[in-house]
Amino acid sequence: MSEVTLRQWLLSDAPTSRRHARLASLYKGWLSFRSNTMAMFGLGILVFLLLVAAFAPLLAPYDPFAQSLSNRLQPIGVEGHLLGTDSLGRDILSRLIYGSRITLYIVALVALIAPVAGLLVGTVAGYVGGWTDTILMRITDIFLAFPRLVLALAFVAALGAGIENAVLAISLTAWPPYARIARAETLTIRSSDYISAIRLQGAGALRIITKHIWPLCVSSLIVRVTLDMAGIILAAAGLGFLGLGAQPPSPEWGAMISEGRRFILDHWWVATVPGLAIFTVSLAFNLLGDGLRDVLDPKDSGQ
Amino acid sequence: MNMLEVENLWVKFPTRQGIFDAVRGVSFTLGKERLGIVGESGSGKSMTGRAILQLIRPPGIVEADYIKLEGQNLLDFSEPQMREVRGQRISMVMQDPKFSLNPVMTVGEQIMEAYLLHNNTSKAQARAKSIAMLEAVSIRDPERVMRAYPHEVSGGMGQRIMIAMMLIPDPQILIADEPTSALDVSVQRQVLDIMDALVKERGMGLIFISHDLNLVSEFCDRVLIMYAGRVVEVCDADKLHEASHPYTRGLLNSLPRLDQPRKHLEVLQRDPKWSEAPSVGGHS
């Protein structure tokens, strides 16, 4: 074993244990992901964002809430304030750094709620079929028939403004497309021979859905979620912008743009800098999604 | 007179583990004859057919000393020139007609389009010609088939339509890649008979790629047997059953036979030497 390098061990075509097999297939996925430069770029940005969020107190030069009215609306590059200050004299860089936490929080929550709900509804509808399918899919259609932001607005208006409610509202409007995808995938998977085979072993619907259909649907959902992430960040920012998401003085990026809007002509950086941050993170998610699609899509893997 | 000469053809695919050679130094010539290429999956037989028409997609690489079509080296041709060759001079029939016909156009539209692409005539004339074509491939009710969509015709009918379409530009060479393996035995025979008659009538050269030894031995004049990207043996089709290479013998013996019942079938013992030995030249 000693002369076998780790790399050879990982690339082995004949794994010797369960753990080996899993690590080997992960490593192969990583290799094909790594060969996609743009996706690596996206991943790099997101890792950077994670680190920034994790070490925000260490990185931020100022308290994001500390006001200094004598120092308000300083331009970019002013000494002590790299990205300038906003209308209340708060350091924009510090607010941006702390805001990354809120952005990640929103993204993580929505990514947990919406696809899982969609996966549940879609696979159950697709596998069980009949009346269950009809009812679940009509509900999905009703949700799909509303413009997303309008529906989210309605929810937030009903639940009250705030970041948690914004997340909830976005999730509620985001799940139907996932349900549709999951159902479509389930319909093709359901009639395949390997599902017939496991049915012939006496497996019940619950086992088939969770152990056999989910693993195949999940990959395309992950891809779809990363591609939608940009939209989710923008929706959160939109709600913040409209004053229905994060409440001031929270340094949420959308809310920051909203605040900067009043000075956009004379002091453009106040709105532009958080805008650029949203743009960068959205782009990163899109690039990552593209790369993941190449790695995860079951239709292409294994060839 | 050789219509097609292939010398030292290689098809390579770069992979993570290094370069994979799908076809390794294959040489053969084709006259006005029916040349069979047999082999198992992965033997490189389909790749050979595709490489001639330069249908190997990147990252695949085609290398050869030359691929000459009536003296012209196809390797020197530009892509537009190759497109002309593909349509006019060498045609290809694929395995499954379902994937070769456009599902949203009627059969008639597709045949007429193919005809109008190659001939500068009126629509009415294209139509008449298309119907004649369908009749030539023994389709009984060509008018009805013209109006049908691909999903409305059976597999055998679909394959005959494909052959009709491929023959419209009057090519010199037809490459048929497993044209009958998706079909039932009884329909197989009809399709083969039609191909046979057309090839004879028009004096075409036919490259017939198949995994079915019996079919090839019966239908072709000459056979190349491929293994691991190389030609291991060349023989006259009617003498295939006297083939000498252990691989060919092994393949023949592993077939179950109604007239020779036995408890166990012979299992092919693969010899690594087969894949290392140089290709046998398939020149006639």
Partner: protein, 249 residues
Amino acid sequence: MSMIEIGNLDVWFGDGHDRVDAVRQASFSVAEGESFGLVGESGSGKSTILRAITGLAPTWSGQITIEGETLTGKARTRKFYKNVQMVFQDPYASLHPRHSVDQVLGETLHLHGFKDIDARVVKLLDDVGLGGRFRFRYPHQLSGGQRQRVAIARALAGEPDILLLDEPTSALDVSVQAEILNLLTDLRDERKLTYVMVSHDLAVVGHMCDRLAVMKDGEIVEVMSVDALRKMEASHPYSQALLKASIAA
């Protein structure tokens, strides 16, 4: 006692105008330890009979009796799944692309209620001639023949009496076909299995089976012994034509 009794079996898809009769009035019986072949061209309904037996076909009428138990509808008991197993045509489609061989066999054994799963997985792989090296591979790391061996191992996991073989070798090369057919012959001897084999290839059925039924357009046109087939004693014109086409090819 006969293992399988099929009487006046009708199988259809759809309803009303869209109704397609896949199988009409099919009757045959298979004795214990026998190997029975169903031969016909695509669309003749031969695979549909297997699907009706296993509960994978939606609607059927008539009588299906397996080991003395009469079946109804689509639901099958746990005992049925233990006794009757199926091997599918396309080994590329019958294994879950994300499950390793170990997972496939392990889950099957778990479903059949075995406790000594590890030992049994190793034994099963040995029985189908694969060996432990293949245990943790994924389907894309296996060749077609190896996949079909895994599918056979999965079918054998519950130690069934009856194996339904749906064109088990038609997607494989002839040299691999020989290996798989030999494996099936040996397994039948060792485990006293009863086979029902569906195939479009008369030579394969002739090699594997004792008796066969010839199907055309959903109907069984003839049931005969393989000996009669070898002597070219088919009586129905369609079987004769099929036989002629197979001999010629």
